[in-house]
């Protein structure tokens, strides 16, 4: 084999803050050959993104520094290269796509201008030839009717389309190496499948090498030639994908491989009381137009949903983003106004005011998606968990409240002695446990789980799913489980509602839907989730 395209030798990256130095990456070495896809796998905080960013020297200086190592790209050491050389390499020989398509495009520039800028910088193409090339690129990344999209601004595109534009920008100069930093993590499963399909096609067409950073082993298995497993800043195992997956050597790799959420929900018992019931639930947001702001139409976020949820059971609500599943949950918990009957433990609550709802709030709790956003950074864990108690049981003494907080932390398998710490001292999975403890401390009957696992690493997802299942069995909880990830839904739900455009596509017992989906849309979702397969255009959104 000839010399590798990119060769990283003993790379270490250190961060300095407040007089302290911490090593984020320690003696990492790997090679990428021409036309090869190398996956860098690890949980968040393992140093995989830092390694990738240091290839193009995108880390913030002077906070970051390189104590050791070299990054050889076609024999040149990029770490020692000056700024001018680096600028030539960036966006030309090596390009990057990032995780968050919402923020990696400039919202003030049209698509044409953003792609054109790269062509102008590196190839000095401007005017009509540039336009032809841009159209060609947009065609390549599968944007339909590219002529009409040229003048579009990022906010007019969906997440998947934005990520396609990012890829078009990355491909503009026919790079030899593409670094993809979790390119599909922020996308729906169906869109993820399409983007992966696209990347695979482009790779075989252009013969470029790819460094693929992800925490999702399913993607690695489908997609990569070789894999490097990273944890705590070191590469612990590296080898061809087949080998690593069938015969993992390192303990951490085995742990990762066994981490997929599995298991079955507890059997549904139809004699249990109905906790939550919805009949023809509708949430319509008015579209106003004209001088007098007349209502001309409605965005039908939730349009006539019937549901029934018994104690000890889980109702999974599945759909892509924008399908109205979170809006449905917020309507059921009366956090936004809606039409149609909503009954909680037999009471019709759809007309209750905020004050009337307050005594019921302790029995219906919500766990949000983002464990980093849902905990106030300025309150200690004890204060966060005790907040609900202060509202609903103000008569408790400090000691009693403290005891309840400790109990809730034990329920979610966290050490109660850590309760005076602040959220930033905990990992993502631990934070999600704290959020669950905040709900559990009030001993609710109904918990709405809004994508509680989708911001978490794969191995942590499995733990949270297990925890939720145990808590349900112990306290006879009713869950409304909202997710786009069918793997997690399958592990938890007794009943499933598949939603699209605010309407029910399919509804029924979970085993039935997973074994024999009746609708095309459900089948497409399942193909994307379980096999990372894209479905033909039109089946799901772009």
């Amino acid at each position: 084999m000839s010399a590798p395209l990119l060769s990283i030798r003993n790379l270490s990256v250190a961060f300095h803050q407040g007089g302290k130095t911490s090593l984020a990456v320690e003696n990492v070495s790997f090679d990428i050959a021409r036309g090869e896809v190398v996956a860098l796998v690890g949980e968040s905080g393992s140093g995989k993104s830092v390694s990738a960013n240091s290839i193009l020297d995108l880390l913030p200086h002077p906070a970051a520094s390189y104590p050791s190592g070299e990054i050889l790209f076609k024999g040149k050491d990029l770490l020692k290269a000056d700024d001018a050389t680096l600028r030539k390499v960036r966006g030309n020989d090596i390009t990057m796509i990032f995780q968050e398509p919402m923020t990696s495009l400039n919202p003030l520039h049209s698509i044409e201008k953003q792609i054109g800028e790269i062509l102008k910088l590196h190839q000095q193409i401007e005017g009509p030839p540039a336009r032809t090339r841009i159209l060609e690129l947009l065609q390549q990344v599968g944007i339909r009717e590219p002529e009409k999209r040229l003048k579009a601004y990022p906010h007019e595109l969906s997440g998947g389309q934005r990520q396609r534009v990012m890829i078009a920008m990355a491909l503009a100069n026919r790079p030899e190496l593409l670094i993809a930093d979790e390119p599909t993590t922020a996308l729906d499963v169906t869109v993820q499948a399409q983007i992966l399909e696209l990347l695979r096609g482009l790779k075989s067409e252009h013969g470029m090498a790819m460094l693929f950073i992800t925490h999702d082993l399913g993607i690695v298995r489908k997609f990569a030639d070789r894999v490097c497993v990273m944890t705590r800043g070191r590469i612990v195992e590296t080898g061809p994908v087949e080998e690593v997956f069938t015969n993992p050597q390192h303990e951490y790799t085995r742990h990762l491989l066994s981490a997929e959420p599995t298991g079955e929900p507890p059997p549904a018992d139809d004699s249990k009381p109905i906790v939550m019931e919805g009949k023809d639930v509708r949430v319509w947001f008015p579209i106003k137009a004209g001088f007098l702001r007349k209502v001309v139409d409605h965005v039908k976020a939730v349009d006539g949903i019937d549901l029934q949820l018994r104690a000890g059971q889980t109702l999974g609500v599945v759909g892509e983003s924008g399908s109205g599943k979170t809006t449905l949950g917020l309507a059921l918990t009366r956090l936004i106004s809606s039409k149609g009957r909503i009954a909680f433990v037999g009471q019709d609550i759809e007309r209750y005011s905020f004050g009337e709802m307050r005594p019921l709030r302790r029995q219906m709790q919500i766990v949000f998606q983002d464990p980093f956003g849902s905990l106030s950074p300025r309150m200690s864990v004890a204060d966060i968990i005790a907040e609900g108690l202060l509202v609903h049981e103000p008569s408790l003494s400090f000691e009693e409240r403290d005891r309840r907080v400790c109990w809730a932390l034990e329920e979610v398998n966290l050490d109660p002695t850590t309760r005076w710490r602040y959220p930033h001292e905990f990992s993502g999975g631990q934070r999600q446990r704290i959020a669950i403890a905040r709900a559990m401390v009030l001993k609710p009957r109904f918990v709405m789980l809004d994508e509680p696992t989708s911001a978490l690493d794969m191995s942590v997802q499995a733990q949270v799913v297990d925890l939720l299942r145990n808590l349900q069995a112990k306290h006879d909880l009713a869950y409304l489980f909202i997710s786009h990830d069918l793997r997690v839904v399958k592990a938890l739900s007794n009943h499933v509602i598949v939603m699209r455009f605010g309407k029910v596509v399919e509804q029924g017992p979970a085993e039935g839907i997973f074994a024999k989906p009746r609708e095309d849309y459900t089948r497409a979702l399942m193909a994307a989730a379980f096999n990372l397969e894209a479905v033909p255009v039109g089946g799901v959104k772009q």
Binding site: G373, S374, S380, A382, G388, D402, P416, R438
Partner: protein, 384 residues
């Protein structure tokens, strides 16, 4: 939950929170960042020293002795107002600078004077030439004591009685007026800043949190309100109401609170959709509690960064009003009035220069502190 499990938990876990340092880790980092800006850090201490000293202006520059012993009795004229009959006179207030009282006390005891024997409104009756008089170090010893009956040998011609920075056109000591003027400027600025911060943050919080019509109406109101010509209104009000510290404070407050509304409103608008705010709402926490506990800390960073600049702005406004003659009542110590005197008496440059240097040093220190505060609250700022 069983009683047994509660008991184990209670035994294992300490009930009281562990003692934390004075500052949370975030604030500790901010304090370190603040210290890293050397100029701002030194300015802060210098300003604090000056400010604290000026709070005790009565003990530094006063026309009464600090302590006096009279006929075996220890007196504290600086804090207690003794009628003159105690020393054999007839006035309601004792003029300790008069020869009669000085001789009387000296004959029957002793007294300790503050370093400067003038208050801001004491006129020096022994000036060597017509007011405004020069600073004493611009005159020789013959000249500087020529106002006293015994000339150079007069026991009253001592450092404390000399005018270090000269006198103004009413023979009042410039140093004393400067110290008192500095104090009143800073106190006025602080009072105005804190009061307008309270009003402005409350208004911004309500707008940002409730949004919708509340926001729309208040925002329009603020636009109209802040387009009013503040100085004219002040002049009109000064013509109707008797001028004074609190009247001025109140009138200025009417207009200064709006400067906080923008930042706080933006911060609340942004933060009210944070997930932890939604989580608190789902727990049933009331609006005001959410605003106070969850949202206000977010807005405080922006507000605190703003404060030093508002403070220096308030001081400048007070000085300019005094300069125009619409500020503090006549006779009170004020830097603006000193500038006005400097303008009237160009032959006495020490008046204008003293006021100029006081103002510029005070404002520069505040701006340097403001810069350091801004750095300290900037999460992206890193120091080597």
């Amino acid at each position: 939950m069983t009683a047994a499990s509660t008991a184990t938990v209670a035994r294992e876990a300490p009930v009281a929170p562990p003692r934390r340092g004075l500052l949370s880790p975030t604030n500790l980092r901010r304090w370190e960042n603040f210290k890293a800006n050397r100029r701002g850090y030194w300015s802060f201490w210098l300003f604090m020293i000056l400010f604290v000293l000026s709070l005790f202006a009565e003990f530094i520059a006063n026309d009464r002795p600090l302590i006096a012993s009279y006929k075996g009795e220890i007196l504290f004229p600086v804090v207690i107002n003794y009628p003159e009959e105690k020393f054999g006179g007839f006035l309601a207030e004792t003029d300790y600078r008069s020869d009669f009282i000085q001789d009387e006390i000296k004959a029957n005891g002793w007294m300790i004077w503050p370093p400067i024997r003038y208050s801001y409104d004491t006129a020096n009756s022994n000036i060597p030439h017509s007011a405004p008089t020069k600073p004493f170090w611009l005159m020789d010893s013959q000249e500087r004591c020529s106002g006293y009956p015994q000339g150079v040998n007069d026991p009253q011609c001592v450092t404390g009685n000399l005018n270090w920075l000269g006198t103004d056109d009413q023979a009042r000591d410039v140093t004393a007026r400067m110290i008192y003027g500095f104090r009143i400027s800073v106190l006025f600025g602080l009072a105005l800043t804190i009061a307008s911060a309270i009003v402005g943050v409350t208004a911004g919080a309500i707008q940002g949190y409730f949004g919708g019509w509340t926001d729309l109406l208040m925002q329009r109101f603020i636009e109209i309100w802040s387009s009013m010509p503040v100085l004219y209104i002040l002049l009109i009000i000064a013509a109707v109401l008797p001028p004074g510290f609190f009247v001025l404070l109140g009138v200025m407050l009417l207009f200064s609170w709006t400067s906080f509304v923008g930042v706080v409103r933006a911060e609340f608008l942004r933060a009210r959709n944070f997930e932890y705010v939604r989580a608190a709402r789902a727990l049933g926490v009331g609006n005001w509690t959410i605003m106070y506990r969850h949202l206000l800390p977010n807005a405080m960073v922006a507000t605190l960064t703003f404060l030093p600049f508002i403070l220096s702005g308030s001081i400048t406004t007070l000085t300019s009003l005094d300069f125009l003659g619409f500020g503090m009542p006549p006779g009170s110590a004020s830097l603006g009035e000193m500038i006005a005197q400097g303008k009237k008496n160009l032959q006495a440059p020490w008046l204008g220069l003293a006021a100029f240097f006081t103002m510029s040093i005070m404002l520069s220190l505040l701006i340097f502190v403001g810069e350091a505060v801004r750095d300290a609250f900037d999460p992206r700022k890193t120091f080597r």
